[in-house]
Symmetry: C2
Subunit: 315 residues, 2 copies
DNA sequence: CTGAAAGCGCTTACAG
DNA sequence: CTGAAAGCGCTTACAG
């Protein structure tokens, strides 16, 4: 339409030098009229484009994942990478399959059995968040060990003796978080009390609101809750408030994750807070490494991050 | 390495029929050893791949954006699209530039002057969220008009008379939200009271915590706050609590956005709640339309969404 | 300042 | 069951 060759179009569209301004304008006009947009595939084939990381989160409306996503975005931008975020709440398999078309590496929590994992992911470099040691894939583990110890010690120091974990999971198995609580409680000679919720679809406020009274019925003398996450903790506090049970005097509440929620609820929530910035840094560096280097055989690399106990007013 | 042609590699990698199992295995083994991964660009050039939408948000850790992002993800997946989320908090220009390499259309809040907008976005179809009417681009407007009326009426009905808007903006101009509040107040014959914050970087809890006392100093007889968003409202409630001022008896507080935060704070927050699911639906349909149809000249299309007043316990 | 040629890495017919 | 040819839509030298 502009009566020029494709190279000249390239020059006009990409703002390159060595083109007559009038020619350039003619090309740009024609492009507008034809609604012409360069194909990202054609261009990428030649220029390689910026590498992209796929981030698989569980639920963006959960502060933990929102904060991780936000941190990943920052860290990626700094390194010239692009991030593609997907929520793998519904159909994990097809979500992942779709994602792979667009990215050079994947990071996130992928809740799939090992065999399916290999099948879905193929040769794409993957870094798994918080997966059991059984996978032959590199990963970042959320290690609650020492932080759970700190939380239990803190509750003991404030005079609490009957600590109940309000757990949550998709199935009947105890969560990783709860099992670490059990270990910490036993190390202190406490009876490990765990109430397990496998009914609710999401570990939200409602879980805590319903689990707290159930726990009190089962262990009337309980004096502290450690909760699966901050949402469950907020639900527990909301229930206790409704019963005019004083937090923390009568019952202390400790959350996990360190989301912004904890600063909104009254009293402000004691919680195990992750440095997600740090997680994002590790993940980006590992992803770049995996994409650039040939695959190292042998032990898959494992990182570990530990939350720290942030004491506020709910304990 | 496997001593086969590229077509056979294609067959092996893509799980196609018409290939000898032994050959396939040989190819797969070689692929693994060479860490071979098909180029997404080469493949996309032929298959076209799934179309991608770029979503530009302000801050993923803000519940409004997290919920919008989550809804967009859902709606996009249903339509076979992929979503690429970016946060345009720091360097908007380069963030957008980077994004364009990867997507077929863009949706979101892009805080750039009109000329720069055209320059940055080029021919990419764009749908703007909550931009002034001045742009010659299609968009979705957040229209507070009738909802502000409802909020003011509700406060009047509960006996409040001196309503103060706690506003926030990046610069000295009144926000769109505040100007709609002013209009609603004037329609009811009220003096429109607005306190403007242009100091804080983000419209977070701290803004409310600091603005609330400032407002009380300036208008000692105030009896209600309407806040720029839920975060500011939570900050105001936190301050009032600290002063043992009863909410809502002494001072009512109304937020905007309808984020999950409002259910966590005590008392639970009355707020103007958007149906972000609806916004996501409109945006996805419009994006698909823009990519598939040639560009229509004439008036750019405009949609409008109105929040609804959700009365809880802070008013 | 403009254009002809080569090639990026795949897949889709088609031939054998 | 396997391979030779063509082509997807760009950009990068290079020639004029």
């Amino acid at each position: 339409m502009a009566k020029v060759s494709r190279q000249t179009v390239t020059r006009a569209m990409n703002d390159m030098s060595g083109i007559n301004p009038a020619t350039k304008q003619r090309v740009l006009d024609a492009a507008r009229e034809l609604a012409y947009r360069p194909s990202r595939f054609g261009r990428g084939l030649v220029t390689q484009g910026a590498p992209a990381l796929g981030l698989v989160v569980v639920d963006l409306t959960n502060g933990f994942w929102a904060e991780l996503a936000s941190s990943m975005l920052d860290e990626a931008t700094e390194r010239g990478w692009t991030v593609l975020i997907v929520e793998a709440s519904h159909d994990v398999r097809s979500t992942i399959g779709n994602l792979l078309e667009h990215v050079d590496a994947v990071f996130g929590l992928i809740d799939l059995p090992d065999e399916e994992l290999d099948e879905s992911l193929g040769a794409t470099p993957v870094l798994l968040l918080d997966r059991p040691e059984t996978t032959a894939r590199p990963g970042i583990r959320l290690d609650f060990g020492s932080a759970m110890d700190a939380a239990v010690s803190h509750l003991l120091a404030t005079g609490k003796r009957r600590i109940v974990m309000l757990d949550w999971a998709r199935d009947d198995a105890m969560s990783h978080r709860a099992s670490q609580f059990v270990a910490a409680a036993q190390r202190r000679g406490l009876e490990p009390l765990v109430l397990h919720d496998a009914i609710s679809r999401e570990p939200g406020i409602e879980v805590g609101r319903q689990a707290a009274p159930a726990a009190r019925e089962r262990w009337p003398d309980l004096d502290a809750f450690v909760c699966f996450n901050d949402y469950v903790a907020v639900g527990a506090i909301k229930y206790l408030q409704s019963q005019e049970i004083d937090v923390p005097r009568d019952i202390s509440v400790v959350g996990i994750d360190g989301t912004a929620l904890g600063l909104v609820v009254t009293p402000e929530l004691t919680t195990l807070r992750f440095d997600l910035r740090e997680v994002a840094r590790i993940a980006m560096d590992a992803a770049i490494e995996m994409v650039e280097r040939p695959p190292v055989s042998g032990e898959p690399q494992q990182w570990s991050v530990t939350p720290s106990l942030t004491v506020r007013h709910s304990s």
